[in-house]
Amino acid sequence: MTGFLLRRLLPAVPTLLGVTAVVFATVALVPGDPVAAFLGPGAPPEARRELAERLGLDQPLPVRYADWLGHALTGDLGTSVSGQRPVVDLLLPALGQTLVLTAAAFLLVLVGGVALGALGALRPRGPGGRISGALSTLAVSAPQYSVALLLIAVFAVGLRWLPAGGTHDVFGSGGPADLARHLVLPAVAAALVPLGLTARVFRAALGTVLAGELADSLRARGLRPAAVLRHCVHNASPALLTIGGLQLAYLLEGVVFVETLFAWPGIGRLLYDALTARDLPLVQGGVLVVAVAFVGVNVLVDAAHAAIDPRVRI
């Protein structure tokens, strides 16, 4: 088991190093002189040199990268400029909120994507296939911020059915029902693009299996249509899993807009606030956490793929 995990994790290491290097580069390449910015112009050269030394800025870039990486590995991502708090203390609670929203959206993506894709695969030439294709194109083309604004305008402002933002009702007692009411609109807004993509890929995968020799030979064995379909879905599921891993990327990048527009206190909202405040350490911390989470999810997807498909097991 350990060997199996190691084989899955090792290839991700160079990618992770690269990701951290890119994030570090955005720290190191910030235009302007941080020392001058801190001390103000006209500071004596000794003071400048002393501060540069204290910040480690006199070291060559690779050394500074190693140093920064060491701190990042121990959970030290620096201090937020605007909040004057450690970046990690701001990121962790926000990450929890984002995971709640992402999980809800992911559920929608899976259910909707599978249903829409199956409709297209089972009726490739009929009206069902056309509807499936048109709806997936529409979903794929629906930017999260557009959908979010339209949903707020219609369901919160116009019809007053659902709240326009927040995670819970400040005056209410809260509870799961209240959370669900607040989750519906942001989850739908975040889910549409990945839902459309999932539908397309699942449609293609299931369609290929259904038209292939395996489906034929299952029918020739006298299996009932429901059983044939079940086995075909099983055989299309590795594709679903693969695409599911990708969808997390779309969900994670979508939350920047969705959380901002729905005032959801997650990583995306934090990133937006950090961007408006030009709080670079917080921006970099947020980008790093999301990118690392993304790489991690892909390792998990790989492992799950191996669990479903014996041909991938090594």
């Binding site: 030979s217 020739a220 041909r311």
Partner: protein, 260 residues
Amino acid sequence: MSALLEVDGLSVGYPGGVRAVDGVSLALPAGGALVLLGESGSGKTTVARTVLGLPGRGAAVTGAVRLAGTDLRALDERALCDVRGRRIGYVPQDPGASLDPLRRIGPQIAEVLRRHGSATGRRAARAAVPGLLATAGVPDPERVARAYPHELSGGLRQRAAIALAICCGPELLIADEPTTALDALVRGRILDLFGALRADCGIALLLVTHDLAVARRIGGTVAVMRAGRVVELGPAERVLHRPDHAFTAALVAAEPGARR
């Protein structure tokens, strides 16, 4: 006498005006062998698939297909499902593509046994699998039952596919180019297995091939097909050695190593 399989004036057309099979009539006695011989595109596979009731999307079928007197064309899809796998076994061309790659061999066979009521209960079905694999000539059937298709050689995979086709004791076995994906050595052994199944279990064989050598080895009756029609029909001995029809003669003459 009444044949086990009777195909009468069978025609199959596809959208776009393609006529894949055009008025084909065939008969196969119980325990007999019938080889459908022809080039690719001659309609021989379509005949085999139409007998199974799987002519494909949008096919227009006319004519009759009778299995031991039962008109298969009159059956609804539900009743046909009961015939497929139980009374007619099907051996596909490429076992690599037709076995479920995500499941072990054993459960795949057990599933068909339970579907057709040849075994009641999970345990009984699982217990029957090694014996069936052995009938299909699989050495070490216990190990093969636990294997995934990709872990087996091409020959073993085809034997597993044959075990799947015969597991419910069918009267008829339809094999579509069953040896094309195999190398020469394994090919002969698989063809001998079909002979053994005929002799020992009385399973009639309808075999589709483009290969004269395969047709010769199977024997029985040969039907030569071209452009959707049967151009020559008769005992293998006569058709393959003293062909009446010019096309069959050309086919025989074109065989590598043919005596001229």
